[in-house]
Amino acid sequence: MFVIRIPRYWRSKGFRYRLEGYRCEKCGHFHHSPRLVCRKCGSRSIRRDRLSQTGRLISYTVVKSSTPLFEQYVPYVVGVVKMVDGSLVVGQVTDCDPEELREDMQVEVTLRKIRVDGENKLIQYGYKFRPVIE
């Protein structure tokens, strides 16, 4: 079974908790994890940055047959969200039934439980998207 190892998860908590990553100062490309060189333009000028907390749902799918890791959440929605800066982020969409979804709907970032490690019971938290509460 695929397992998200604790150290690996912990290293990526900046992005998983806050959508915090690394942006190239030359071309503006956003990287999820630390990089010395921009993957897009090769620049070495990279600074820490945080994505906006809202975006638009541009595509989604309803998962009805999942890996054992997310079985209890079935059916759940995985969507592609275009953030305000144009970056695309893939994530689960929560607090919304599949029939309520529509493309281009405004969503916002929320922190949720992603899963609980079956072996050691550590809770892995991370971002999900949900319809904007206005």
Binding site: K13, Y17, R18
Partner: protein, 372 residues
């Protein structure tokens, strides 16, 4: 001569005591931002009564809020705190303390506050702790943050009350034990503050009304102690002591908010003190979201702040089993008008309602064993 000086000193001391007694006990601690969170799932008390063969006419509330499968005390604390920070307009790096009051922390050992702080981008150089005092843990967190601000140990602090309350299937508590969170950003004096803490009073005793031992999934309670010796004694003693010590009258307050394990108890307190129901109803939400434990009275406060006017005075009295009450006098400041609409009002969160049946409820509250 010596006697005369002594007599003058005693008179002066007595006058000083009178002045001190009349002075606000809290100096220079203000609410800069506030936030409340209610999950979107609801189960009607009548549905719980149906499953356990009880008469739905006897249920204590209409319905209660239920945390979703991917929610817990920490995620709800983050939701409320995010709103509080947005309203405060404070750089998260200026927050010097994150204290979470709860009796349903996801870990027996591992702080909730550090996860909340990291999720919100708060500095790593903070104090952080989880507080436990049953339903009073949220106001305990507030008291500590107030003291740290008063002592100028921190510029701003975050006090949170959050719970996913547990109730044993078929137990009386199952009808009301609900989920929710509320958070306050507390800091020093500022012209755009939302409200000012004026006075606080705490009363605690050792009372065996409700408890949960380690490794137990559900709490125990003794019905004989729940009302008179626990809730009413502590709520009324803290509240009356505060009024007597500082010379306040019921008519000095525009709103009252109490801990609300149901609808009847806070309304009974209002009746005993001859408080008009109109001053209690705004902050009384347990009928439609249930008893959110450590968040309970604070969510009531959030609802009041959503509509209160500058200059209005609020008396908040929490209650936690075990047992004790914190009574806080809060005066609304001018900043409320500009900050109120920076985040969704509580009624919008309450309105985002999806009804579930008992089967889904026990799945969401992890009451089905054998499933991870």
């Amino acid at each position: 001569m010596t006697n005369h000086v002594f007599a003058s000193s005693v008179t002066l001391f007595k006058k000083l005591q009178e002045v001190m007694a009349a002075m606000p006990k809290v100096n220079g601690a203000y609410i800069h931002g506030y936030g409340g969170y209610v999950p979107r799932f609801r189960i009607k008390a009548a549905e719980i009564a149906r499953v356990w063969g009880k008469d739905e006419k006897d249920v204590p509330i209409r319905e209660k809020a239920v945390a979703g499968l991917d929610e817990d005390t920490i995620t709800m604390a983050v939701e409320a705190a995010r709103q509080a920070l947005t309203r405060a307009g404070v750089d998260p790096k200026k927050i010097g303390a994150v204290h979470v009051g709860t009796e349903s922390k996801p870990y027996a050992v591992k702080p909730s506050g550090t996860i909340v702080a990291e999720a919100l981008g708060i500095s790593n150089f903070i104090t952080s702790a989880d507080y436990e005092f049953a339903c009073k843990a949220g106001t305990e967190a507030i008291q500590t943050i107030i003291a740290m601000v008063e002592a100028r140990r921190i510029e701003y602090g975050l006090a949170i009350g959050a719970d996913t309350a547990q109730g044993r299937p078929s137990d009386a508590l199952e009808y009301t034990a609900a989920s929710g969170a509320a958070a306050l950003v507390i800091g020093g004096e500022s012209k755009d503050a939302v409200a000012r803490f004026e006075y606080s009073m705490t009363y605690v005793t050792d009372t065996p009304d409700f408890w949960r031992r380690s490794y137990e999934r559900f709490p125990m309670h003794t019905s004989r102690f729940t009302g008179e010796p626990a809730y009413f004694k502590h709520t009324l003693t803290a509240l009356k002591s505060l009024l007597q010590e500082n010379g306040y009258k019921i008519s000095d307050f525009d709103y009252f908010v109490f801990h609300q394990p149901n609808v009847k108890f806070p309304l009974t307190v209002a009746k005993v003190l001859a408080i008009p129901n109109s001053k209690v109803e705004t902050g009384l939400v347990s009928g439609i979201i249930g008893n959110t434990y450590a968040a309970c009275s604070l969510i009531g406060l959030v609802r009041i702040l959503d509509s209160a006017k500058p200059g209005q005075r609020i008396l908040l009295t929490s209650f936690g089993s075990g047992a004790g009450s914190d009574s806080l006098v809060i005066t609304v400041e001018d900043g409320i008008e500009s900050k109120r609409n920076k985040a969704p009002q509580l009624d919008k969160l309450i309105a985002r309602r999806k009804e579930i049946d008992y089967a889904l409820y026990i799945k969401m509250r992890d009451k089905i064993r054998g499933v991870q």
